[in-house]
Point group: C2
Chain length 145, copies 2
DNA sequence: CTAGTTGCAAACATTTTGCCACTAG
DNA sequence: CTAGTGGCAAAATGTTTGCAACTAG
């Protein structure tokens, strides 16, 4: 999944707004821009730890909510998972294929997405859809062969 | 949202499998069959309490997981909510419209749902979708008028 | 210098477990 | 009678808050 922004662009735009470029911030943004898939706070901490940049969990959670409020990352909640996950907000709009056997997550971009369904919802219900969240569960290629 | 089963049918099928019809079980199944929308454990307890059938939260959680394992109810997780919600599993397959202004949830049945998308996922990715979960966010009729 | 950032401990919300008492059938 | 059920207290999990110390710019 390609992103429109890279690590430096994000950092310098935060700097322009008066926020600091710290070791933690650089590390976390680096992880998100380097890794397309939705990560939990715990996985993020694990990655930081293994890259010899360990931080307190409070701090990591605080940075996550900072980046979320600024619109750098967005929150995702998978069905039947208790943890929240995060991915870059600048990724192309997409959905997730979650394999029930190996738990791996794959990104997918739908051709004309749900435009038709959303039109029909506006017509039939008067409900103006501004956003949707769609998750597919099933068996991935590797697992059913 | 109509269901294929009513309270008595569910209870007697559980009885046939050797489970007991208790005050709690009857009350909880009654609430689910009487109320179409996804409920959290807390809301369920509140409804029980207000119907002079209060129960310990442990017990309520235990009954919820009992009913979930037996396939009577199913778990739902709304984006950005921390609580799990539950609704009757025998409801017709549907999705939810969540209003960002008043938080009300409306059910919706899509005409041919995501059949086309799921076919294209199988073709392009070799991923066999067995289930999906779709949630629309936006502004309901009452709120944008 | 000083507002933004960090760490620690402790709080919090939701859900789960262990254990023993109770009751439907 | 007895397997299934219920209640209490306490643990577990994931996340958040208060507060004092630290640091980037």
């Amino acid at each position: 999944m390609k992103t429109k922004e890279n690590s430096e662009e994000i950092l310098s735009s935060l700097a322009n707004e008066g926020f600091r470029i710290t070791r933690l911030r650089k590390a976390i943004i680096g992880v998100f821009t380097g890794n397309g898939l939705p990560m939990s706070a715990d996985e993020l901490m694990e990655i930081l730890r293994s890259g010899n940049t360990a931080f307190n969990k409070t701090t990591v959670y605080r940075e996550i909510s900072f980046l979320k409020e600024r619109g750098v990352i967005q929150e995702i909640q998978f069905l039947h998972e208790r943890v929240k996950r995060y991915e870059l907000a600048s990724l192309e709009h997409h959905h997730h294929l979650v394999c029930l056997r190996c738990n791996r997550v794959e990104d997918i971009v739908l051709e004309n997405d749900l435009a038709e369904q959303e039109r029909s919802i506006l017509n039939s219900k008067g409900f103006k859809v501004t956003n949707h969240m769609l998750e597919f569960h099933g068996i991935c290629r590797g697992c059913h062969s």
